[in-house]
């Protein structure tokens, strides 16, 4: 065990998977000598060389579509996009090809690639550098979507993502990159891509969040000083969703708040609430509340903290549900 931050945990997972499997290659802008804009791939070019840590031309669509071809032909490309806002042109290739090559080839080809995206706001970054886009990806048939929240789960989830036979979008909570350190085992381990984690058990209310919102939720709940017995769920994987963990918890508590950073309308939280309504409606003591961003473009840094859900808004929603 070593204490490390999320950047170090991902770096270690990449290094170990590359040592273990020579078909794993890294592709992206500035991932080589420079070590990536967030330094996530630091040292890997020095260890594995040009042919496995590949600085590509500046072309996100090129990166993902070439990676699809490489994956079909036997490689395991782990691609990186520098910031979430630049992943949007990749949706065409993800939707039309990565997610349906298996189907289109009648199961003869599959696309074992990973797309790593630094995700979300909160680091005072420039325009288009702070977007929360999970809904775009979870809506694509054939793609898995993973959203780690801290160093430990990031490492295990990335290993599973690289080993997974299907395309995985891996959303790295960039505001957490260097914000927390955790004990992370040196040896490799997998965290399955269909398991949520009950971070804290409770009996009054269930609070569900993923990615960077986990940290905010935990801090918010700490401020309540044990006022309620709160169950916290960290989804870890958004697609496929671990519905059992969610439903079992809501059935037990009868109350629920969902927290998402993305804009409200059609956000992933809406999917969670629909699932709860389908499977646990009769156990509910109160309507499920969602705390979300607003239906506006992600504000520039001067206003981003007014947009991103914070402890006040989360605790207000908890109170609303508890006092229903």
């Amino acid at each position: 065990m070593t204490r490390m931050n999320l950047v170090q945990a991902i770096n270690l997972a990449l290094k170990q998977e590359m040592e273990r499997d020579s078909t794993v290659v890294l592709m992206g802008e500035d991932v080589g000598k420079d070590g990536g804009v967030f330094r996530v791939t630091e040292g890997l070019w020095q260890q594995f060389g040009d042919s496995r840590v590949i600085d590509t031309p500046l072309a996100e669509v090129g990166i993902i579509s070439v990676a699809i071809g490489m994956a079909i032909a036997g490689m395991k490309p782990v691609t990186e996009v520098q910031f979430d806002g630049f992943s949007l042109p990749m949706l065409d290739q993800l939707y039309n090809h990565a997610g349906r090559m298996r189907k289109r080839s009648q199961g003869k080809y599959h696309v074992p690639l990973v797309l790593r995206i630094p995700h979300g706001g909160g680091i005072r970054a420039l325009e288009h550098h702070s977007e929360s886009l999970e809904t775009f990806f979870t809506h694509i048939p054939g793609i898995k979507v993973v959203a780690p929240s801290g160093p430990y789960n990031a490492k295990g989830l990335l290993v599973s993502s690289i080993r997974d036979p299907d395309p995985v979008v891996f959303l790295e909570p960039k505001r957490v990159y260097r914000a927390i350190k955790e004990e992370v085992p040196e040896e490799e381990y997998e965290i399955p891509l269909n398991k949520a984690e009950v971070v804290q058990e409770g009996s009054d209310i269930t609070v569900i969040a993923w990615g960077a919102m986990q940290k905010i939720v935990r801090e918010a709940i700490e401020q309540l000083n044990g006022k309620y017995s709160i169950e916290i769920i960290d989804l870890l994987t958004l697609y496929p969703l671990d519905r059992n963990t969610v439903i079992d918890s809501v059935k037990k508590t009868g109350r629920c708040v969902v927290v998402q950073e993305a804009p409200r309308t059609c956000g992933y939280g809406a999917e969670l609430i629909a699932t709860i309504n389908e499977k646990a409606l009769l156990s509910l003591e109160a309507p499920v509340q969602r705390v979300t961003g607003y239906d506006v473009p992600m504000p520039l840094p001067k206003l981003e903290n007014y947009y991103i859900p914070d402890a006040t808004r989360i605790n207000k929603a908890i109170e609303t549900v508890m006092s229903f």
Partner: protein
């Protein structure tokens, strides 16, 4: 096998050499002394603005900032070759062009401090907002130029982008449209040799960027981007060609990014001191100064006046930028739609 000659040599167009001597009198544009001084003064102003931005960033008063140093001739030379009615479509590194077109410097600082109001009033300079997604602005310029043509306007669109941007589909699609529809668009690629840590050579196997013009059937010019006279001449000619209905031009300004990619970068990780030192010798401001001195339109007094004046303007802009009231949080709901839909109206009320 047919024998095709596919090697194309573009000669680097230069007027003012590194020693500040005119090496191409035939092409030297007719410039009055005051025009030349204006070029010099704007280049100095851009540099002082930029130096101050780097300082403000270090002090935590700006966010990530992309320096234009080394590219003053490309930016100022091209900016003043445009008419007021022409459109300006920037990437994120064109603060020099913004300044030359009259966008207030305090508002530029405001934008780079993460305040969207810094991009207000762009309609008064016919400019689009800073575009950070690399290359994404290129086809917009083509559309603007095309609309101008269809609407019978005389205005031309000039779009700026880097060497890295030419790897993106947006570049190829934009230039191709421009060629097919013969729109009055001027593509200004500031090839500063680097896209963050990726060198020009690793960006494309083409010998030059400008040769891509051939593939799309449009005019192309390779110009010394540190030579303000050459850039001015080439851009002015391209703008006039476009204006007179003769179609688009791709211009490659061969220049250099003297500073880090942005304040979040460290160039020592991927390029050599020698390389940076070599380009320092080609400094666009020094070069023009030498020329002006030899022409008798530069002396120490003038030099002091120019820099003092630039510093005064920039400190005035800094003062203004720092005294601006913080934006209202409710601004985030502003300008999302012409008329706010009920969903957002409700969210806005919740917020209050």
């Amino acid at each position: 096998m047919p024998k095709n000659d596919i090697r194309i040599n573009f000669e680097l167009f230069q007027i003012l050499n590194e020693d500040g001597r005119i090496v191409n009198t035939r092409d030297m544009p007719q410039l009055k002394n005051d025009d030349i001084k204006r070029m010099y003064e704007l280049m100095v102003l851009a540099r002082v603005f930029d130096d101050t931005a780097l300082k403000l960033q270090r002090e935590g008063r700006l966010l990530t900032y992309a320096s234009l140093q080394g590219q003053e001739a490309s930016q100022i030379g091209s900016a003043i070759a445009l008419q007021k009615e022409d459109w300006f479509v920037p990437s994120y590194r064109e603060n020099g062009v913004f300044i030359a077109r009259g966008h207030p410097m305090d508002m530029l600082y405001q934008y780079w401090a993460g305040d969207e109001r810094g991009m207000d009033k762009l309609d008064s300079i016919n400019g689009l907002p800073v575009a950070i997604p690399v290359g994404s602005q290129i086809p917009h310029a083509v559309g603007i130029a095309w609309a101008n043509k269809l609407l019978g306007k005389r205005s031309v669109a000039a779009v700026y982008f880097g060497d890295g941007a030419t790897s993106k589909g947006d570049f190829h699609e934009g230039v191709n449209f421009a060629g097919v529809f013969q729109v009055p668009c001027v593509f200004i690629c500031q090839n500063n040799q680097w896209a963050i840590s990726v060198s020009r050579k690793k960006q494309t196997a083409s010998e030059t960027i400008v040769q891509k013009a051939i593939a799309y059937g449009i005019e192309g010019v390779l110009v010394d981007g540190n030579d303000v006279f050459a850039v001015f001449k080439v851009v002015r000619d391209a703008v006039e060609r476009a204006r007179s209905g003769k179609g688009p031009t791709l211009i490659e300004c061969y220049t250099y990014r003297m500073q880090n990619h942005t304040t979040a970068d460290d160039w020592k990780k991927y390029r050599s001191e020698e390389e940076v030192e070599r380009w320092k010798q080609k400094d666009p401001i020094e070069r023009l100064k030498k020329y002006m001195e030899s022409e008798g339109i530069w002396d120490e007094n003038y030099e002091k006046m120019v820099w003092d004046d630039a510093r005064t303007q920039v400190s005035e802009a800094t003062r203004k930028f720092e005294s601006v009231e913080p934006p209202s949080p409710l601004d985030m709901f502003k300008d999302v739609y012409g008329k706010l839909p009920p969903e957002i109206e409700e969210q806005r009320k919740d917020f209050e």
